[in-house]
């Protein structure tokens, strides 16, 4: 079977990288739209992911019911969290540093609360029993849940692309990214779009936390890690660009898995180099008033 040629430790790691990249895309897609559309650099985005991961841990019962419950709760928590963030940054329009500090403050409050409620030790989240095992790919065993996650991730990618690039709502969002002033002049309610994007980004981040909990489990500090990686994705992919976010997330996913396996210790430098290249190519595209 020709599959055996494809199946070696590197392709297995690369497959891990795809799962990781799709998870990062789900988180970073929300952040890139939030930064691009609402102009809010939300330092609390990682906190939302962590909230989702803890939700998955708390509601997991080994069956599909727990996962469905957690997802339903994620939509509520994400919407409330996004709306809350919108309310917090509303008085801080045109004060980006104020927004950063306010969302950072919320991230601190959230981290302390998580510590209080869920304890300081890392929690491991098991996927539903039906997909908990592993499947044989050639000579290797691969976790079924990770394959399922890749499938869900691909569906999410297609759905998000359709939403942003084909639907009317997406056209409105892209219009606000491209030129907020002109969008407002043509009668679009940019403030409503901003709130909508914050809510949507919040739902995506919390949902990613629920689905991604078996991949990146909940523990203190995960919020910062996830935030750092997703904003590297945003910087590399360009703020407000969903295509860029997808490519960057897949690339970062490969660097963090395959890159670490091939050349251990250099991953951090490859990420820095990727940011450098992205910033050089789009030299000064991010001056005030211009979307990157």
């Amino acid at each position: 079977m020709g599959l055996n040629v494809l199946v070696n430790p590197y392709t297995m790691t690369a497959l891990d990288g795809v799962a990781y990249g799709l998870l990062l895309f789900t988180i970073a897609a929300g952040l890139t739209l939030i930064v691009g559309v609402a102009g809010v650099f939300s330092m609390a985005h990682g906190t939302l992911y962590l909230a989702g991961a803890y939700l998955a841990w708390y509601l997991a019962d080994g069956g599909w019911t727990g996962l469905a419950l957690a997802l339903a709760a994620a939509v509520v928590v994400g919407a409330v969290g996004g709306a809350g963030l919108a309310a917090v940054v509303r008085p801080l329009v045109d004060r980006p540093l104020g927004q950063v500090l306010a969302t950072l403050g919320i991230a601190y409050l959230g981290a302390d609360q998580f510590n209080q409620v869920f304890g300081a030790e890392p929690r491991s989240v098991d996927p539903p029993r039906a997909v908990a095992g592993s499947v044989a790919l050639g000579d290797y065993q691969y976790p079924i849940y990770r394959l399922l996650f890749i499938a869900i991730g691909l569906v999410l990618v297609v759905g998000l692309f359709w939403l942003v690039e084909r639907s009317r709502a997406g056209a409105v969002v892209r219009a606000v990214v491209a030129d907020p002033g002109m969008a407002a002049a043509t009668g679009l309610r940019t403030s409503a779009v901003r709130v909508g994007v914050l809510v949507g980004g919040g739902v995506l981040a919390v949902g990613a936390g629920v689905l991604g909990a078996p991949v990146i489990g909940p523990s203190p500090g995960v919020d910062t890690t996830v935030l750092a990686y997703s904003l590297i994705v945003c910087v590399v992919g360009g703020l407000g660009s969903i295509r860029g976010a997808l490519l960057a997330a897949l690339g970062v996913g490969q660097i963090l898995t395959l890159g670490v396996a091939l050349v251990p210790g250099v991953a951090a430098f490859i990420l820095a180099a990727a940011m450098l290249v992205a910033l050089t190519v789009r030299h000064r595209a991010a001056l005030p008033g211009q979307p990157a």
Binding site: L97, L104, T224, I232, L271, A272, L279
Partner: protein
């Protein structure tokens, strides 16, 4: 970042009316200095250790303030250079226990690290600058976990000696006084720096970059120089940090440390002394007050950040400077 409206810079005249008498600032400074020197004889060892930590953070806040208050750029990765300096000082500590040598080596290491990574950071402005420096800080954090001696456990160092011939300092009071002396020297150097023509050019870049370019200055190089100097100051803070704790770990590069430095610089709103005071205030809130309340340091710090975000003065903090008698 959106451009600051031109009208805010003209608001200086009403403030002039209620300026304090000429002798008040030197007197206050002298009293503060006397209190700082007398502190080890007044409070217990725990508070002295906290005060030494606060002084280290004050140096890191000055490093951030050079970028925030002068260059108009908000860094969120200064702790990365602190850790670079701390590891360098820990490396030098295996050769000599002389504190000043360690500080110089750490300053050089921090400056080199900042010069290398700065070429990346100074391509961005405003919030993208903040994102890039945040990413850089996290990358230093990750790299320290993998490469630094001791890995994520960190590494311990021997006590430092202040001058050749003196015994190594073990008691917190002496360490505090050594750190205080170093902070005063660094502060004096920074005070000279911010009165140079270079600092004026930085403020000009922050105010209107294209105009500075049109006047024939290479703004990218100016900002890179500022970033390098800021990295050097942060590196010096790292050497002082291991003098205090005798320990360095990758956790010192955490985002929280950088965020504290940035917030302190914003509290200082355009003044170096203010940034240092802000750092002392935030460390006091995080460690001392939370100790009195039984934990919840992060919550207190988060509330401080929220409060700071909604204070109206922050509006102009990064772009303008309102202290009297500064050459502008």
């Amino acid at each position: 970042m959106s451009a600051t409206p031109a009208s805010v810079t003209t608001g200086a005249s009403p403030r002039r009316a209620r300026r304090l008498p000429r002798w008040s600032l030197p007197t206050l400074g002298f009293l503060g200095l006397a209190a700082a020197v007398a502190l080890p004889w007044l409070v217990n060892g725990y508070v002295i250790a906290l005060a030494a930590t606060a002084l280290v953070m004050a140096v890191l806040a000055m490093s951030a303030q050079l970028l925030v208050g002068w260059a108009g750029l908000s860094p969120l990765g200064q702790a990365g250079y602190l850790v670079v300096g701390a590891y360098m000082a820990a490396r030098v500590a295996t050769l000599t226990d002389l504190g000043p040598v360690q500080v110089l080596a750490a300053t050089a290491a921090g400056a080199v690290a900042a010069a290398v990574t700065g070429s990346l950071a100074v391509r961005a402005r405003g919030i993208p600058f903040l994102m890039v420096t945040f990413g850089l800080g996290e990358l230093v954090h990750a790299a320290a976990n993998q490469w630094a001696p001791g890995g994520s456990e960190g590494t311990h160092t021997a006590p430092v000696a202040a001058l050749p011939g003196l015994p190594a300092m073990v008691r917190p009071g002496w360490v505090y006084l050594y750190v205080l002396a170093c902070v005063l020297v660094i502060g004096a150097a920074v005070a000279v720096l911010v009165r140079t023509r270079f600092a004026l050019l930085l403020r000009a870049v922050a105010a209107h970059e294209p105009r500075v370019q049109a006047a024939g200055h290479h703004t990218g190089r100016l900002l890179l120089a500022a970033y390098t100097i800021a990295g050097g100051i942060a590196g010096a803070a790292g050497a002082l940090a291991i003098a205090v704790t005798r320990y360095v770990s990758p956790a010192d590069a955490a985002m929280g440390v950088s965020a504290l430095a940035l917030a302190a610089a914003l509290i200082g709103s355009g003044s170096m002394l203010g940034a240092g005071a802000g750092a002392v205030l935030l460390v006091a809130a995080r460690d001392w007050v939370s100790g009195l309340l039984g934990g919840h340091g992060p919550t207190l710090l988060g509330l401080c950040f929220l409060l700071l975000a909604y204070l109206p003065r922050l509006r102009q903090a990064s772009r303008t400077l309102r202290l009297p008698r500064r050459r502008t």
